[in-house]
Amino acid sequence: MTLLASGPLIDWEWIGEHLDVIRAATVEHLQLTAIAVGIGFALSMALALLALQWRWSYPLLAGFCSVLYSIPSLALFGILVPITGLGTVPAVIALVGYTLLILLRNIVAGIEGVPAPVREAADGMGFEHWRRLARVDLPLALPAIIAGLRIATVTTIGLVTITAYVGLGGYGDLIREGLRRQSAPQASTLVILGTGLSVVMAVVFDLLFVGVEHLATPWARRPRLAPIEPMEPVPVAAIPAGGSLSDG
């Protein structure tokens, strides 16, 4: 094994020549993220509605999602690949699995967080059930839901990098390629590029969601510093919405 020569850390020339590779990786990374968060959101919404209708199911559902979340990504891939083979399928399954817990918790917390007097007043004024859900419950649940989406998206962007090991691309592929080329000068470039771009994408989406949150909830106040909680089915009151990358 040859040691890395003392070349430049980042080979800008190489980057300039391979912009198409980078673009392809970006697109792939975005696609995977979008699919995973999209499916995860739909699934979590369904689970949340179930949990709200049948309260007893919530600890079960949340517990299941929590176990799923605790399994290391590489290990989860390892368990799925023998069943599904390599490629998009195990990747999406695993990525979706990781979004479920935070989304389920936040959706449920959001809808439960609608104050009872507000609901009663809405009913008393003559809102039909569906109209109340759409005009009152959902808008008020929105901050929590958007916060959940934000965390899920940022987390997923990070996890997509590991899908390189089930044969997919995205920025993880750049990193993996960089690790493979231990000697070549581009090795460090690739690794830094892959990691850096992933961080940039995460930050961009984080800011995007913060913006969406501010636009969608003109009446709400900023969330404050919250300690990190393990992702387990704690009582819904204890949702760490978390600060944002752009928070002061």
Partner: protein, 402 residues
């Protein structure tokens, strides 16, 4: 003893939908019952009650008496197990619930304002549901803001920025927005502090004089009921109607031990809050002119059996002079004079006057109108006024009116 109901049917008020004439009865509760599964005793047990149009009827009783449940059966937030709610002659069940509720104003304890809508949007909620035009809605919001005493610059703000009292006002405005004939209020003032509560109650009284809504108000506070209601219905556990009638009647002649207890052992004094000074005959009292001599003053004191005398100058009552202060004074004008502490206007309640009498040194309440002396009241005058003013003396529990 439920309220006898209707007068002669008035054709103009007949409801076409049911053919049942509904003259001055806005709401009628007929054998209304609510049974919850798992509970042996019904929450509301065959309640019969009539709510006359344009009146404020208070449902009062201890916790668990079913007053809130009853209220909620009117707008069907709770569905009755048995019995019927007739609103303007129509069975409340014939309409879809949400439609029924758009025609009934609903005010709750914590206001329940939509945090995600501005104050103006909150008020505009039902009109928008009913499809009013934007201009009409806008006009109505402004109208209500003025009616409820809400500052115009509160309208574009969010409820979180308002004080508790302001929020309650918005809640009432919102309930009145579509001009419903009926207003339901569930302990609307229990969550605000006493000073704000008193103001809001006064505003409601004033409002009611202007809009004449049919209001059903639930409260556990008998004093609030006495202050606000035209008619009070006292309920016992299980929604049993103990007595219903105007506050004055209940206070004077409670029909059961329960009602008497609920009204409190200061029933007599509570009645005083229902009568004002102008209903009572005033007396001149021991008053002399400023130019009169001290001897005259002493004579008046002796004559009326008091140790002080009031001093007037034309129309104005200047103050009072004690017997001891007269000693050695050549004229009345030089004697040290003290101001009357208990001074009231004709619109004051007898209860306030009583408070003044009891706490003043002179044991009288002075009544003035714009600094013009009208007369004074003593304890005896009050007692007489209570019996004369409203016709009958206080009765012991269960006695029939003479």
């Amino acid at each position: 003893m439920s309220d006898a109901a209707p007068a002669v049917a008035d054709e103009a008020d007949a409801s076409p939908a049911s053919g049942e004439p509904a003259p001055d009865v806005a709401i009628r509760l007929e054998t209304l019952t609510k049974r919850y599964p798992g509970s042996a005793v019904p929450a509301v047990d065959h309640l019969d009650l009539t709510i006359p149009r344009g009146e404020l009827v208070a449902l009062v009783g201890p916790s668990g008496c079913g007053k809130t449940t009853t209220l909620k059966m009117i707008n069907r937030l709770v569905e009755p197990t048995e019995g019927t709610v007739w609103i303007e002659g129509t069975d409340a069940r014939t309409l879809p619930a949400h439609q029924l509720r758009r025609g009934i104003g609903y005010v709750i304890q914590q206001a329940g304002l939509f945090p995600h809508r501005t104050v103006a949007d909150n008020i505009a909620t039902v009109p928008k549901l009913l499809g009013w035009s934007r201009e009409r809605v806008h006009e109505r919001v402004d109208e209500l803001a003025e009616l409820l005493g809400l500052d115009a610059d509160l309208l574009p703000r969010y409820p979180a920025a308002l004080s508790g009292g302001q929020q309650q006002r918005v809640g009432v405005a919102r309930a009145l927005a579509a001009d419903p004939p009926v207003l339901l209020m569930d302990e609307p003032y229990s969550a605000v502090d006493p000073i704000v509560r008193a103001r809001l109650q006064d505003e409601l009284v004033r409002l009611q004089r202007q809009v004449h809504k049919t209001i059903v108000l639930v409260t556990h506070d008998i004093d609030e009921a006495i202050k606000l209601a035209d008619r009070i219905a006292i309920l016992r556990a299980g929604g049993h109607l103990e007595q219903v009638g105007p506050p004055e009647e209940l206070l004077r002649a409670p029909t059961s031990e329960f009602v008497a207890d609920f009204l409190g052992d200061d029933r007599g004094i509570k009645r005083l809050s229902l009568i004002t000074v102008d209903d009572v005959a005033l007396r001149e009292g021991p008053v002399v002119g400023m130019t009169d001599s001290p001897a005259t003053a002493r004579a008046v004191m002796a004559d009326q059996g008091v140790d002080w005398v009031g001093v007037r100058d034309g129309d104005r009552l200047l103050g009072w002079v004690g017997a001891a202060d007269l000693d050695g004074e050549p004229t009345l004008a030089t004697a040290p004079r003290r101001p009357f502490r208990a001074v009231f206007t004709p619109g004051t309640t007898l209860k306030a006057a009583l408070d003044g009498i009891v706490t003043s040194q002179t044991r009288v309440a002075v009544i003035e109108d714009d600094q013009r002396y009208l007369g004074m009241l003593t304890l005896d005058d009050l007692a007489e006024g209570v019996t004369e003013g409203s016709g009958e003396p206080l009765e012991a529990v269960g006695e029939d009116a003479p």
